[in-house]
């Protein structure tokens, strides 16, 4: 199978995965549906030339922006992501998460936690519902902010570099995805990601991570987390389109990326961060 055929197969797999997820009314059950779809496309993919109707990945260059000044830590993005992408609801598997940085008076460094912190979990009502506990309500807070995190879909992804089979790869439109039918589950990619964006899905025995909701963006929709964000802290769009929200965001702000020293060249751009941000 040559490279373009392989990409086509993967494209169809993603397309089918996308439709399976989108069509299922209850997103939690999408897993079973999408695994069936995966099996079917793999066979079909060998014979037909698959394509996502009306979508040409060579025409797009997706990127993501985070305006930390706007994030209020409501965690709707985290919940939406879990439901949309059938991520395990427990507090150890996240395609996206939100960090809270709190500097108390008299302290040099920020105290950091995320919604997965045991204290925050204890403050949540039920599994899969996340919230930040109000633990600093009596403290003298000097500075505090929330920071959403997700896969950076790096230009030079360390995870793709180390994958022994090529199951994880970068699409032409700039998204790093995983072929769950080809992943052997060695977790080398989980180790290699400096951002902790990958995890192992023990239900399917493969690695998993954010895809910027590839099944949605290839249909002209926005990623689920961007869609539900009530404050516009998450920005998504096509860098090829100079009028897109992300192009405007990068043009109008002084943005930074996380950990540029890794050489990964991330494609999630941040404003409103601080020295403590990791």
């Amino acid at each position: 199978m040559n490279e373009s055929e392989k990409r086509d197969t993967r494209r169809e797999f993603l397309s089918c995965l996308g439709s399976a997820v989108a069509c299922s009314a209850a997103a939690v059950t999408a897993g079973a549906v999408s695994s069936t779809a995966i099996g079917a496309t793999q066979v079909a993919g060998a014979a037909d030339k698959p394509e996502i109707p009306g979508y040409d990945w060579s025409k797009h260059r997706w990127a993501f922006g985070v305006d930390a000044e706007r994030c209020i830590g409501c965690l709707r993005c985290v919940v939406a992501c879990k439901l949309e992408n059938d991520v395990s609801l427990d507090p150890h598997h996240f395609r996206t998460w939100v960090e809270r940085y709190v500097t108390l008076q008299g302290e040099d460094n920020a105290r950091i936690d995320s919604q997965a912190d045991p204290i925050n979990i204890a403050a949540s009502d039920a599994e899969g519902e996340y919230r930040f506990s109000n633990r600093y309500k009596d403290a003298n807070v000097e500075k505090a902010f929330f920071l959403p995190k997700l896969c950076n879909h790096c230009t030079h992804p360390a995870c793709v570099q180390v994958c022994p089979t090529g199951a994880t790869y970068k699409t032409d439109d700039g998204v790093v995805v995983i072929d769950h039918t080809y992943c052997i589950g060695c977790q080398y990619c989980v180790q290699a990601c400096p951002y902790g964006a990958r995890f192992f899905d023990e239900r399917r025995n493969v690695s998993d991570k954010c895809t910027w909701c590839y099944h949605r963006i290839t249909k002209g929709l926005r990623p689920a987390c961007v869609e539900v964000c009530p404050t516009g802290a998450r920005i998504f769009g096509d860098l090829n389109d100079k009028q897109s929200p992300i192009s405007q965001f990068i043009q109008n702000n002084r943005v930074r990326v996380l950990r540029p020293e890794t050489g990964n060249a991330p494609n999630v751009f941040y404003t409103g961060t601080d020295k403590d941000v990791i």
Partner: protein
């Protein structure tokens, strides 16, 4: 039903996905086994290639040890994989930029080389056994592959092959193990692993662990066979152990020192780790009891010119401690590296489960496999001098 995953507790701030440690004790066993392969092969080759005549009593035995460990090497990896049935994907469509993609080919090549070398070494015995009466004769007859010529001319031809195979085997074994060090050392995401010295450390500790295993098993088998231990052979192995341990300790020390001295981002947490959870596994078990103590004992034995049972007991005891030290070294690298969060601001407290696919019991069973294989191999192909003299 067994829990799908075992989350660990943590302190400070760690990324939410880091609470399930990806590589468990099975990935500790994997470099440990490849290390034993490289070490035992070195001992065997010191005789085959470099003519260390004193090592003759253990040379064939060391080769069998190397082979038994090598065929077991893929087992912990396969047990660890989420989809072991897809393992060959890495060989069918190897992703050239991945350090892991080489493994199947490197290991396959090396197993073949070891089998070939073992066959040449034991060919005279195989031919001899094939001529004896009994059912097993058929087994040996098949193994001889129709080559029953044991004339001096044929033997000299075999020796050439053996020499060539050992010459290829030394860089092969060491390359395989240095590569395992690269698997860890090349990752930029973890400060604890990310070091150019990692392959060297892995390699040197491999040689000492393999040598130590040969010492322990040789002395044990002498007891079982009720024959005297060849002291000069044991001494050469003890010298080798001593020398390579010195190198290992120096390089490990330099690596640790430069990590602390560079003091890059996250060093505070690394120091917290070193002074806290690492005290027992690293300073006491790996460094103290496992390295300094045997080094002191062997130095003392050499200095005092000890002989007889005390010498044998001293060297064997030291070798057992070295085996422990190298296991702890693998543990402290593989597990330790994952206990320091990628955030550089938190520590994860990983407690290996006893049961389950990735538990201590499973790891122990994997480590027992080469010993069982070795027991069978030694019966089929006695590696002792009296058998091939």
């Amino acid at each position: 039903m067994e829990a799908l995953f075992h989350p660990s507790t943590f302190s400070g701030y760690v990324y939410p996905n880091e609470t399930v440690v990806p590589w468990t004790v099975l990935i500790v066993v994997y470099p440990y086994l490849t290390g034993l392969v490289a070490g035992a092969f070195t001992i065997s080759s010191l005789y085959q290639v470099f003519g260390f005549k004193q090592l003759r009593p253990v040379s064939h035995f060391a080769l069998l040890i190397s082979l038994s460990c090598m065929v077991t090497v893929p087992v912990p990896l396969l047990l660890h994989l989420g989809h072991p049935e897809r393992a060959f994907n890495a060989m069918i469509t190897p992703h050239v930029t991945s350090a892991f993609a080489v493994f199947g080919y490197a290991a396959g090549f090396y197993v073949l080389l070891l089998i070939l070398e073992t066959w040449f070494v034991f060919r005279p015995q195989i031919v001899q056994q094939a001529r004896r009466p009994g059912l097993l004769r058929w087994f040996y007859r098949i193994l001889s592959l129709g080559s029953d010529d044991t004339s001096e001319k044929a033997m000299s031809y075999d020796r050439k092959w053996l020499f060539a195979l050992a010459v290829i085997g030394i860089p092969g074994a060491h390359g395989l193990h240095g590569y395992v060090g690269f698997v860890f050392g090349s990752l930029k995401s973890r400060e604890w692993w990310s070091s150019d010295l990692m392959p060297v450390i892995f390699l040197l500790s491999a040689i000492i662990s393999g040598t130590a295993l040969v010492i322990v098993l040789y002395v044990l088998t002498c007891k079982f066979r009720k024959i005297a231990v060849d002291v000069s052979c044991l001494k050469v192995m003890a010298y080798a152990l001593w020398g390579f341990m010195m190198f290992t300790l120096v390089i490990e020390g330099v690596e640790f020192l430069s990590l602390v001295y560079r003091g890059r981002e996250g060093i505070e947490v690394i120091m917290e780790f070193v002074k806290g959870p690492l005290v027992i596994p690293f300073f006491i078990l790996q460094f103290g009891i496992g390295s300094l103590l045997p080094l002191a004992v062997i130095t003392f034995l050499i200095w005092r010119g000890t002989s007889g049972t005390a010498l044998i007991a001293g060297i064997t005891g030291s070798a057992i401690l070295v085996l422990l030290a190298v296991f702890m070294m693998r543990y402290n690298v593989v597990i330790g590296g994952q206990e320091i969060s990628k955030t550089g601001k938190g520590l994860i407290d990983y407690v290996p489960p006893l049961f389950g696919r990735e538990g201590l019991l499973a790891a122990g069973m994997v480590l027992a496999v080469p010993m069982i294989l070795l027991t069978i191999l030694v019966r089929l192909f006695p590696p002792w001098e009296e058998a091939y003299a």
